[in-house]
Symmetry: C2
Subunit: 331 residues, 2 copies
């Protein structure tokens, strides 16, 4: 039997009602084996509502990391559902961890508790942004590693292309490097060296990289569907992710203010651009897969995040780094 | 008499017809003394159309940098209107230079030909982005210096706050540092140290900095009107600038596709967000002021760019750096 996906019952704006419902849906409708982590009494009450007591395993965790906790403070709470959930994955009892908790808290806790996988230098956060062409573009790293080296960036390209294949079903993905100016040699020190690595300069790969490299892309390419995967350092990636959210909101607010359309209709468009509703943000490169569902997730989004987590866990994301881009950590 | 603003007659998508008309408008309607640089025969023909021969000085330049030239190639063309225009400013014959040529070409040419002003470590490009609150936020650096030091970033804050005061009329501007996470200490190595400098840690200023420091802002603050000035390294700033353009376009395309509004109406909203139509991008910190008007500029935009260039030149932007943040270039 496949290993379970561990679901944080306590994370998210809507609490256990939605997370438990999502986990049950993942199990019943998508055949994903799940374990719920959190305050056992609360979880059992929710399971009882759904007639699912005994159907889903429960692991108790006393403490809850509040949604307002955005980072390091979460790590100290060793008895939280976040901590206990990550530990289950580290100890091999679960294949992946899903949480709708605060992204910062989940990312910091997971990095601390799971650690990076062998051969991976640093983890990366991958999010799928919808593009105007109707498809999606994976932005990687969207905020896990803010000062990467070029070698880490090249590994992010591998992690992100795995995500594009496993979650979005893209074969032989086209990978672009986020820079300024599309010509080779444009950018900053980090992107110039990363570009060389992605072209295969100065690294001896066992065979070619398992994706096509497009070259540099720019800020206006992020939603344009130019490539399947956009590689960025975690600082720039996170700024871009939040800039997309803010700019969509601003543009639609302006359109509403100009009397062009009704605010509610425009909100639907904005929702479409909310990156984390598209399968969740995946933290890749750790000793286990972690999927961060949006804080506002309802049951359906949690269930989809469980499917994504299972697919990533079974897909051997980290093996791809090992097979193609092992780098001496000393570099 | 005030020194002239030198106008590149040959730059821009619409060529001398619009640039000459804009220069004449700047002179007649706004009292800005101007000099036109470019192919003298062509310029005189345009001036004749407007009954302005003899009213505006003309300096001949044989060569024209094409709009497709985005960078270093422009520097080699020593006889171009771009080169001759910059030289006029360097030699003191003009106070500022206005061009609607390719931003990359203007920036590289101006940096090469004018050089940075004494006490300024590196130049920065400032653009005014409209915000949902109806005001504008200055993004600085939007692409001139892609690998700045924290000291350069602190100077960008001074240059950008000058722009906010002189061009947007904001007194005592509120300055934010673009980062990830709003709490102090969040960000990457560059922003963490820059944040300290902007708080006054480790630098001995003669008096307090002439702006209020807000702290960190994030990608969603860029159009939200959170602060008057956002400081970024030129790499991140340029990615954000282009991401705003692309995201506005994408969001409105989606709204049109969803049948919510007519595409032409939405294009009006998009135009409002085109940052360079708001007075042009100003390249600050060189031995002369340079304003890059949008390539698609018509006469009115060129005229406004001339006014901005004059105001910046008279406002002593560089003096502010000298008075507040002289840094040993060896650091």
């Amino acid at each position: 039997m496949a290993k379970s996906v561990v679901v944080d019952a306590m994370g998210g704006d809507h609490g256990p009602t939605e997370t438990v419902r999502g986990a049950v849906s993942a199990s019943r409708e998508h055949g994903v084996p799940v374990v719920l982590v959190g305050q056992a009494g609360v979880i059992r009450r929710e399971l009882a509502e759904l007639g699912a007591v005994g159907e889903i395993d429960v692991t108790h965790a006393d403490d809850v990391v509040p949604m307002s906790e955005r980072g390091a403070g979460a790590v100290a709470r060793g008895g939280s559902s976040l901590a206990v959930g990550c530990d289950l994955v580290r100890e091999g009892a679960g294949a992946a961890f899903v949480s709708a908790g605060s992204t910062g808290a989940v990312v910091v806790s997971a990095i601390t508790r799971l650690g990076t996988a062998p051969t991976v230098l640093r983890p990366a956060l991958a999010v799928a942004l919808p593009s105007v062409t109707g498809g999606a573009t994976v932005l990687v790293d969207a905020g896990a590693t803010s000062d990467p080296t070029p070698e880490m960036m090249a590994q992010f390209a591998l992690l992100g292309s795995s995500y594009a294949e496993l979650v979005l079903g893209v074969s032989d993905p086209l990978v672009g490097l986020l820079s300024i100016g599309s010509e080779p040699g444009k950018g900053n020190r980090l992107t110039r060296r990363t570009e060389e690595l992605l072209r295969g300069v100065g690294l001896s790969f066992p065979g070619r990289l398992p994706f096509r490299f497009y070259g540099n892309v720019e800020g206006h390419d992020v939603l344009a569907g130019t490539v399947d995967v956009i590689v960025a350092d975690g600082f720039t990636g996170n700024v871009v992710l939040k800039n997309v959210e803010g700019t969509v909101r601003a543009a639609l607010t302006m359109a509403a203010a100009a009397g062009i359309a009704r605010a509610e209709e425009l909100r639907e468009v904005a929702r479409h651009y909310d990156p984390e509703t598209h399968g969740g943000a995946a933290l890749l490169g750790l000793t286990g897969t972690v999927v961060v569902a949006h804080g506002s997730s309802r049951a359906g989004t949690i269930a989809r995040a469980c499917v994504v987590a299972r697919d990533l866990a079974e897909g051997g994301v980290v093996a791809r780094v090992r097979d193609h881009l092992t780098v001496d950590p000393a570099t």
